[in-house]
């Protein structure tokens, strides 16, 4: 009995701040997996702060005032799932060169790292403008059949 008590001495669920710090370092898929562990973890991963960290992890600190905007537009989780994730994955695959083409060699060596970071920052900003356009579309309008599809180009094509 005493041994069991010794084993259970440290339970991560009792230390939520540590848990949050750990979860902050996960990627989106792992966060999804973590959400399935138990109710506590599920509620923590739903916390938008985690997703904010995920969105802007690789870039320099985002401009101030971003948070209010993003929260108003649906939250960081939405921003990540709808915009940031496809944008970053497409940009990573695209290897943007300086000649304005979609493919082509990026920098070499240390340059590519800088290029990647530069593109990630721009990518994050572009995600935000895309989210804005999407929200604008969803505000409802005159056209009855206007489903918000300005972000359709970010969706993966489905093959039947």
């Amino acid at each position: 009995m005493a041994e069991e008590q010794k084993k259970l001495k440290f339970c991560i669920n009792d230390h939520r701040d540590v848990l949050v710090e750990i979860l902050k370092r996960l990627d989106a898929r792992s966060l999804g997996v973590a959400a399935c562990v138990c109710r506590l973890w599920c509620s923590i991963t739903r916390n938008d702060a985690l997703w904010e960290h995920l969105c802007f992890r690789h870039v320099s600190p985002p401009p101030s005032g971003v948070r209010t905007v993003v929260v108003a537009l649906g939250g960081y989780k939405r921003l990540y799932m709808v915009c940031v994730k496809p944008v970053l994955s497409r940009l990573a695959g695209a290897k943007i060169g300086s000649d304005g083409r979609g493919t082509g060699g990026g920098g070499n060596g240390g340059d590519s790292d800088l290029t990647r970071r530069v593109w990630r920052r721009h990518g994050a900003q572009m995600s935000l403008s895309l989210l804005c356009v999407d929200c604008y579309e969803r505000l409802g309008g005159r056209l009855g059949d206007a489903s918000a599809s300005s972000l359709m180009f970010l969706c993966e094509p489905v093959n039947f």
Binding site: P63, G65, V66, T68, V69, A72, L73, P86, V87, R90, L91, A94, I96, G100, R101, G102, T103, W119, H122, G123, M126, L128, S129, L130, C132, V133, C135, Y136, L139, G140, G141, R142, L143, A146, S149, S150, M152, F153, L154, E156, P157, V158
Partner: protein, 581 residues
Amino acid sequence: MNRAYEETARNHQLAGGEGYSYEGRMWEEGRGDGGMDELLAVLGYKVKSSDMADVAQKIEQLEMAMGTVQDDGISHLSCDTIHYNPSDISRWLESMLSELNPSQTFDPNGSFSSIQSTVLGQQPQSSIVSSTVPSRIYEDDSEYDLRVIPGIAACKSADSTSDLQIEGSCKRMKRDSCQISTFPVNSAATAGSVPETTRPLVLVDSQEAGVRLVHALIACAKAVQNDNLQFADALLKQIGLLAVSQAGAMRKVATYFAEALARRIYDIYPQKSSIDPSLSDVLQMHFYETCPCLKFGHVTANQAIMEAFAGSPRVHVIDFSIKQGMQWPALVQALAWRPGGPPAFRLTGIGPRQPDNIDALQQVGWKLAQLADTIGVEFHYRGFVYESLADLEPSVLDIRPSAEETVAVNSVFELHRLLARPGSIEKVLSTVKALRPKIVTIIEQEANHNGPVFLDRFNEALHYYSTMFDSLEGCGLTQPNSQALAMSEVYLGRQICNVVACEGTERVERHETLTQWRARMDSSGFDPVHLGSNAFKQASMLLALFPGCDGYRVEENDGCLMLGWHSRPLISTSAWRLAAG
């Protein structure tokens, strides 16, 4: 061939000239007379040595035919055809070739084949009938009865000699010709008798039909220009049938151009009043979604406007083409994050009257106000309904002094419409100058569809819209045949119709090239503003987001940015300010 040779040589050595039973029989046969080629005889084929060159040529032709035919076009060769005496390679090749190319081997009347061979004799195989050749054929038939058309795609099946009906696509033609298994070899001799052509075979080739289609379209336009309407009408039927044989973008472009030509010939100009502005808005929305062209324009123009607005506490944007206002959410968001806080943002939207008293402009303003409120940007909106920008007076727009407010003017695909009425563009540009804007952003199609000669306009439009449709198809953005893609095509189709079928004030799609706009803006008192590298980077990144769109290119052209598909520019963005002094 080499291996067969080695094998036979080995067998010869091993068997001492007698060989095994199977090969020996062949060998003896080969050694015997009949003039059979020895090597092929070993493999079991009977080919006369004298025919070798001919057989080799036919093998090559068959390979070409099989390589170029459409997907399931040759499956019937394996199931349905009956091959007689396949060891006789010459005849077998003949039968295969006849099934792939019916017109080559049928010869109901000597006149047809002689016309065909003379036509082929006169021109190299890859060239297409020029407009002079059809007139040679038609000169003795005043009703332009298209009985004889050189080439495959318009050829009648072997069974009907007087029937002009062409049974749909080439594939069906091939199936019908299955019944004709072997044809007399002398037809090859007939074709071969034309001394100039080494390749008398005109293959069923969708690529070639495509080239013929383009030439037919241009010939029809030329006929229309020369007021030769009967001939043009006859060509239209041709075009319709050729278009059906194509697939994808080429077919759609050809169909739209054919329809536009038909409208021009029969004087069915679509009335301006019937063009529903709400419908054109919907179409442009779908075009916005499927093609990066509009998005490119918005992104680059917004960047230029942002740079011009740097440091101003109050900003005012006048949009000559507010439509659904898709350009402005991104600008509102970018303004919200301006270091130093967002300015007060005023937007004036100008658009045409909508039917049913629906106030589309107000709807746009309301949505943008909601968005701006969410984001935290002070926002004011006014909408003005004008049928033509030339009716706009600067005093209406309530312009504040420059010290108080920075003004930007934005026009997406609107200025070219003013060229339909003389004097309009000058009036509008002077109105713009009276607004004292800090920056004027102009997004226009990069093509010259406003030349004085109809045929030149037609050619230009054909190339431009072919590239556009190719880019829509090649982008791989949406599933083929999805609704958004179809609507985008209708959007482009209406432009095609206007460029080709309309004249005078009805022809509003008077696109001009960047060079022409530059000259006009220069002479009207504007100086160019160079779009910076930020705009370029953003545009490149936007293109990178589109899946599989390697074909798109962003190019910088003396301070302006152009979006092109492969080497053909499609859209250009330019920025201007008032000339100093």
